[in-house]
């Protein structure tokens, strides 16, 4: 299993368009991907599940992936988050 921590820095947090991009990216991979924020766990391929994480700006997210493309999946999601979902700051 691949696991990594990442900080949500964009202003909107993991809601609205960023949440949608996050789910679309996760859905491209075969691995099972879980996003954890504090006590809450979410299926990274489910928009409803990701929304209920309540991951605002400044939230620390743990990403876990299990499967053949786990490494690439986590990397892709980290890249997306670190690019601030393409938002200009």
């Amino acid at each position: 299993m691949v696991e990594t921590k990442v900080l949500i820095k964009n202003k909107v947090g993991l809601h609205a368009r960023p949440a949608s991009l996050f789910v679309q990216t996760a859905s491209k991979f075969k691995s099972a991907i879980t996003a954890i924020h504090g006590e809450r766990k979410a299926n990274a391929k489910s928009i409803l599940s990701v929304l209920t994480l309540g991951a605002d700006q400044g939230a620390e997210l743990i990403l876990q992936a299990e499967g053949e493309d786990a490494e690439e999946a986590v990397q892709a999601l980290v890249n997306l988050i670190e690019s601030n979902f393409g938002e200009a700051e």
Binding site: K11, V12, N43, S46, I47, L48, S49, L51, T52, E87
Partner: protein
Amino acid sequence: MKTIRGIGASPGIAIGPAYRFQRLDLHVDSHSVHNVDAEFARFYQALEIAEGQLRLVYEKARREAGAEQAAIFEAQLEMLRDPELLGETQAAIRDQRLNAEAAWWSTVERFAAILEEMESEYFRARAADIRDVGRRVLRILKGITEEPVQLTEPVVVLAQDLSPSDTVGLDKSLVLGFCTAGGGETSHTAILARSLGLPAVVAAGPQVLQVSSGTQVIVDGVEGLLIVEPDEQARTIFLQRREALTRLREQAFAHCKEPAITLDGHKVEVVANIGNVQGAFTAWEHGAEGVGLLRTEFLYLERSTLPDEEEQFQAYHAILEVFGQQPVVLRTLDIGGDKELAYMELPKEENPFLGVRGIRLCLAHPELFYPQIRAALRAGVGYNLKLMFPMIATLDEVRAAKRIVEVCREELRRDGKPVADNIEIGIMVEVPSAAVMAEHFAREVDFFSIGTNDLTQYTLAADRANAQLADLISAFNPAVLRLIDQVIRAAHQYGKWVGLCGELAGEPLGIPILLGLGLDEFSMNPSAIPLAKQIIRSLSLAQCRELAQEVLSLESAQAVKERVRERLPLLTLS
């Protein structure tokens, strides 16, 4: 014949058979199933059908209602494929042997409840979306064909209230008008009706729902009346009024580019309230002699980043170009805690309309205010741009805002950029304190623009959006009219001009009063301009002055309206 009273939300008169719009009450019964596989199959089939339907609705919305409305259905499609939503439903069917309807609906409700708890408008809208999707799948499972509202003849639509999902299926060419039991002047039905130019009455109460389809009704969007089974006499009167109204409108439009001069030669300016460049074109076509209120919120809402100076400069420039040397009054950003800006933390407030909004917010956030002022000063070069600050309550606020304009002007000069000189600076008069202290403010500014919508809600301490208080919210209330009178007197004493950009400026019954009080500039929605000009041309200033003094001494909004009607009977036409 029965008359039901509501609020006129979109003017005009509709006469025809009623169509009672009804959402199905979908009862979910729960029972256990033996054949789990068959239940799965039923569920998947329902999902597939729902997806097909949503795609069609999405396409239709995109063609007819634009990208924003269509996005609602796109988000719903995304939810329909959500692995957690589907996974939980499957688990409930498999493990608890629940029927698909009960398994699906309990999962939908669970997610909707979580989202609803999250306390922001964004999440509440998602909760409504998931329930909308939920109902669609449920209907299919229960074998209820979606009742695509098949209108076969022109009808007046009666409903509790209408949502975007409800109206997307309506053939608008067969809708004569709307009347809803609930809602308010800002509900979806009201906004849709105004954009389609159809008459509408809202907040008319549960009696509306007792009218069955096919019953002859009349919707009077001016007076806010629904007349059920009109007798021959009423029918004739309303038919005549409708015809006269149509004639008047056609005539008004034909003369809309001509100035608004009273019978005794007094000229006033008739300008538009707009919120983007499309609005500028519409305003120009309808005979606007400039812009009395340019709302700049369009640049800030529904986006993930703050608009920079350059983007704002381009946007303002595009609008100024439409009007050339005609005046354009730009109102600086007017938002508060009721709006969500993705790129800014606006703390939730108990009373956002009494909170940090308008100029209060801008003075507290220079990163918002400076780029806007700089962009405006640059865009104004060569045009007739005026700046106006919203929500001004104290003199210190105006002075602070004016200082910032000076700082921006200096900075731009230092950077060698061309800057508009001699820009007039004014304030919105919408907080009662500004109206009461108008004499002091008149020395600080070049003009006032009275925002009667907010001035009314603040004066009467009644929330504009609260349908239960609709009776209380009237700019015709003599308390509001007296404030307007006071503001105009104070301004004229110091040689300053006064505009009015609330709905009152375009109201046929309001125009003679405002003329009589000495208003210099009438600013209104573009579609109201031709008729307003025509009305002004039919009046004499002397007569309006007398009328205005009379109504100031009356006791209630109702009495004011009645007095205007008595004196100027022709105005009830509109």
